[in-house]
C-alpha cells in the first residue's frame, strides 16, 4: 500500500518533469527551419480592430495568394492589448516579426534595439520613398535611420453634425473657419436647458487622455506645442502654448463647450450619441457615425491665429531585430507589395484612409469619397512627438496628466505647464 502510494506520487512528479523537458525540446526546434524549403512565414501583429480591419485582411489575403514564397500570419488585436503583449514577447524572442504601430511609438523600441533599421527596404526595387507621403516616411526616422515603412497615413479632420448646426441656427454647410468662429459656434451648440450646470448637449468633444492627439493641434495652431519640431526642446511653457491652453480651457471650464476628462473612445461616443456637435478625429469613425444615423460634414480644422495645421498620423510596419536573412527579404517584399499602386487603391477605397502614395489619380479613388477628403491638406499636417524617444513618458505620464490638472482647476496653466515642461525636458535630455 505504502509503496503504491509513493509510486503514484513519484509518477505524477515524473510526468510533470517529463512534460517540461519534452516541451522544452519542442520549443527550441522552432526558429528559421522554414527558410530552406517551403514558404517563409512571418508573424505580423497590428491593432486594426475597427472598420478598417476588413481592408487589412483583404490585402494580406491577396498577398498570400499572389505568390508562394512568403506567408503572412496575421493577428489583429486592440492597440492596448497589442502593446501589452508586445513587451514580454519581443523581450524573449516569441514576438511578431512584423509589428505595425503608430510612428510615435517606434523610437521607444528602436532605442532599445528591438527593431532593425529599414533604410535598405526603400529604393526603386522596393518601397519607392518618392512616391509616398513624405511626412509619413520621415516620421519613421529615429537618430537618422528609418525604422519603419508606412502602412497607412491620414490627417485628422473636423467632423460636424449638420442637424445640430441647423437647430442652432448655423449654416449646416459651413464649418467654422477660424478660432473665433470655432469658439462661438461651440458656445451656440452647447445647451443646458434644465439649468443644472451640466449641458445636455456640447459644442465640442475633445479628449484629454487615451486618445489620438487632439489638444496638441490647438497648440500648433497658435504657434506652440508640446515639444519643438526637432523633438529636442520642451515647449509646453512657451507663451504661445500657454495662451492656447488657457483660451480653450476657459471655453471648456467656464462656457462648458466640452466635457472634461474624456478619453478618445468617450469623445467618439459623445459625437456618436448626438451629444456633441463637433469632433476632430480620423477617418476610422466614418462608419460608426454613419451607422448611428448622423448627417455629418468633414473639413479641415479651423485655422488658428498663427497657422492652419492639423495632425498627421501614420502607422508603420517595423521589423524585429531577430528577423534576418530570408525573413528580412520576405518582409521587405511584403512592404513593397503593400505600398504598390494596386494595394494602395484597394486600401483607400475599402478603408476610407487616403493612400500612402501621392501618385494615385482621383479617378482611382472615387469609390470612397472619404479617402480623398482625409488626404487633402497633407502638407498642412504635423506629426505629434515625432522622433521623441520616450513617447509614453512624455505623453501619458507628463503631458496628459498636466492637461487634466488644468482642466480640473487644480492649478494655473502657467504653473502646471511650467512644471510639466521641466519634467519633459529632463526626459528629453536623458534620452540624448
Amino acid at each position: 500500500m505504502r509503496l503504491r502510494s509513493r509510486g503514484r506520487l513519484v509518477a505524477i512528479t515524473a510526468a510533470i518533469a517529463l512534460m517540461s523537458t519534452a516541451c522544452a525540446g519542442q520549443g527550441q526546434g522552432g526558429g528559421d527551419a522554414g527558410a530552406a524549403n517551403g514558404p517563409v512565414t512571418l508573424k505580423f501583429w497590428n491593432g486594426f480592430t475597427g472598420p478598417d480591419r476588413a481592408a487589412v485582411e483583404g490585402i494580406v489575403k491577396k498577398y498570400n495568394a499572389s505568390q508562394n514564397k512568403v506567408r503572412i500570419d496575421m493577428e489583429i488585436m486592440p492597440w492596448d492589448v497589442f502593446f501589452e503583449k508586445l513587451l514580454p514577447s519581443l523581450g524573449s524572442g516569441t514576438g511578431p516579426d512584423i509589428a505595425a504601430m503608430d510612428t510615435a511609438q517606434i523610437p521607444q523600441y528602436a532605442a532599445r534595439n528591438v527593431f532593425q533599421p529599414l533604410d535598405d527596404a526603400y529604393g526603386p526595387q522596393g518601397v519607392d520613398p518618392n512616391a509616398l507621403v513624405r511626412s509619413a516616411v520621415d516620421a519613421t526616422t529615429f537618430k537618422g535611420k528609418k525604422y519603419g515603412v508606412p502602412m497607412n497615413f491620414t490627417t485628422l479632420k473636423l467632423y460636424w453634425n449638420k442637424d445640430m448646426f441647423r437647430e442652432a441656427g448655423l449654416d449646416p454647410e459651413k464649418p467654422p473657419a477660424d478660432w473665433d468662429e470655432f469658439g462661438s459656434y461651440a458656445k451656440k451648440l452647447t445647451k443646458d436647458d434644465d439649468g443644472d450646470g451640466k449641458p445636455e448637449q456640447y459644442g465640442l468633444a475633445i479628449a484629454d487622455h487615451a486618445t489620438i492627439a487632439m489638444w496638441p493641434i490647438l497648440f500648433w495652431q497658435n504657434g506652440g506645442g508640446v515639444v519643438s519640431e526637432d523633438g529636442r526642446t520642451a515647449t509646453l511653457d512657451d507663451p504661445a502654448t500657454i495662451e492656447a491652453a488657457r483660451h480653450w480651457a476657459d471655453l471648456i471650464t467656464k462656457d462648458k463647450i466640452a466635457p472634461v476628462g474624456l478619453g478618445g473612445a468617450d469623445a467618439d461616443k459623445l459625437f456618436q450619441s448626438k451629444k456633441a456637435a463637433m469632433e476632430i478625429v480620423g477617418p476610422w469613425m466614418t462608419t460608426g457615425f454613419k451607422q448611428a444615423g448622423i448627417d455629418f460634414g468633414i473639413a479641415m480644422p479651423p485655422a488658428g491665429p498663427k497657422a492652419q495645421v492639423t495632425l498627421g498620423t501614420s502607422v508603420a510596419f517595423t521589423l524585429s531585430a531577430r528577423a534576418v536573412g530570408a525573413k528580412k527579404q520576405a518582409a521587405e517584399n511584403f512592404f513593397a507589395y503593400w505600398n504598390s499602386k494596386e494595394s494602395q487603391t484597394y486600401w483607400s477605397v475599402n478603408s476610407g484612409f487616403p493612400p500612402n502614395r501621392t501618385d494615385l489619380t482621383a479617378d482611382a479613388l472615387k469609390g470612397n469619397p472619404y479617402s480623398a477628403l482625409f488626404g487633402q491638406d497633407a502638407d498642412k499636417s504635423r506629426f505629434y512627438l515625432a522622433g521623441v524617444q520616450e513617447f509614453q513618458k512624455v505623453n501619458e505620464t507628463i503631458f496628459e496628466p498636466a492637461l487634466q490638472r488644468v482642466l480640473n482647476g487644480k492649478g494655473d496653466v502657467e504653473q502646471v505647464f511650467g512644471q510639466a515642461d521641466k519634467d519633459i525636458q529632463t526626459v528629453l535630455d536623458n534620452a540624448q
Binding site: R4, R8, L9, C23, G27, G47, P88, D268, S273, G288
Partner: protein, 278 residues
C-alpha cells in the same frame, strides 16, 4: 397586545423582505443591465435618454459574436484551461494541505510561511520573469504554458489547511494504528470528509481561471489558445468599441460560471460553513 405584536412582526417581515429584495436587485443591477443591453441595437445603446429595457428587441449582437470571434473555440479553450487547472490544483493543494495539517516533519513551519508569503505577492511582480522562463521552455501559446504555472495555488493550500485543522483526528489515528499508509488515509478518510471544502475551493479555482484576463492574454498569441476573456478584450479599442456584441459575448462568458455556482450553491455554503476556520 398579542394582536399588536403580530402586526409588528408582520410589518417587520415585510420590511426585511423589501430590504432584502432591494439589496438583491442592487447587486444584480449591472448584470441585468448587461443582459438588457446585449438585446438592443447599437444605436439604442448609445442613445439618450438611456433606458434599461430595449425598445427594439434584437438577437443580432449574439449572432454578431460568432462573426467576430471563434466563440466555440475560445469556449473550449477556456473549459480546458479552467477545468484542468481546477482539477489538478485541487489534488496538489489538498496533498500539500494534508501534509501541513496532519503530518509531523521538520521544515513544516518554513513551508507554511512560504505559502503565506506567496499569498501576499502580487502576480504582476513575477509576470515578466515567468514569461521569459516559459519562452525559454518554448511554452508560449501552448496549453502547458497556460496551465502548468497554475497547477497549485497558495490560497488553495492555505484554505484547505485551515479546513483540515478543524476536522477531528480520531478516524485517521485509528487508521494509522491499524497500519494504513498515509496516502490511504489521505485518499480514503480525509478527502471524503473534505468534499464540501473541495467543492468550495473548486468553485474559486474555476471562476478565478475562467475569469482571468491578463495571464491568458499575454501567454496566448492566437485564437487557438485564447480564452474567452482574452478574446473579449479583442472587442475593445481606443477609438472603436462595439458595445452590443461586447455585452452579448460578456453575457455568454459570465453565464457558465453563474450556472456552475447555482448548481453547487447549497453545498457551497455548507462547504464554507464546515471550514469553520479556527
Amino acid at each position: 397586545m398579542g394582536q399588536d405584536n403580530r402586526g409588528l412582526r408582520l410589518t417587520w417581515r415585510i420590511l426585511t423582505t423589501a430590504i432584502g429584495l432591494a439589496i438583491a436587485l442592487a447587486m444584480l443591477f449591472p448584470l441585468v443591465w448587461m443582459v438588457a443591453t446585449s438585446l438592443k441595437p447599437e444605436s439604442e445603446i448609445v442613445s439618450f435618454p438611456p433606458k434599461l429595457l430595449p425598445t427594439t428587441f434584437t438577437l443580432d449582437n449574439y449572432t454578431g459574436v460568432w462573426e467576430r470571434l471563434p466563440f466555440t473555440r475560445l469556449f473550449l479553450n477556456t473549459v480546458v484551461f479552467a477545468g484542468t487547472v481546477t482539477v489538478c490544483s485541487l489534488l496538489f493543494d489538498s496533498m500539500t494541505a494534508y501534509a501541513l495539517a496532519r503530518l509531523r516533519f521538520r521544515g513544516k513551519g518554513v513551508v507554511f510561511v512560504l505559502v503565506l508569503v506567496l499569498l501576499m505577492v502580487p502576480f504582476q511582480v513575477t509576470l515578466i520573469p515567468l514569461y521569459d522562463l516559459l519562452a525559454h521552455l518554448g511554452w508560449i501559446n501552448t496549453f502547458q504554458g497556460l496551465i502548468v504555472p497554475r497547477l497549485t495555488n497558495a490560497f488553495g493550500i492555505f484554505f484547505l489547511r485551515q479546513f483540515l485543522l478543524s476536522i477531528p483526528r480520531d478516524l485517521e489515528d485509528a487508521a494509522r494504528v491499524d497500519g494504513a499508509s498515509e496516502f490511504r488515509i489521505y485518499w480514503r478518510i480525509v478527502m471524503p470528509l473534505a468534499v464540501p471544502a473541495l467543492l468550495t475551493l473548486g468553485l474559486f479555482h474555476f471562476m478565478y481561471n475562467w475569469n482571468d484576463l491578463l495571464w491568458p492574454l499575454i501567454i496566448s498569441q492566437d485564437a487557438s489558445r485564447q480564452t474567452l476573456p482574452a478574446g473579449l478584450a479583442l472587442f475593445m479599442g481606443q477609438h472603436v468599441v462595439e458595445y452590443g456584441p461586447l455585452m452579448a459575448a460578456s453575457v455568454m462568458t459570465l453565464l457558465p460560471v453563474v450556472v456552475f455556482f447555482i448548481i453547487i450553491q447549497r453545498r457551497f455554503v455548507a462547504g464554507v460553513a464546515t471550514t469553520g476556520i479556527r
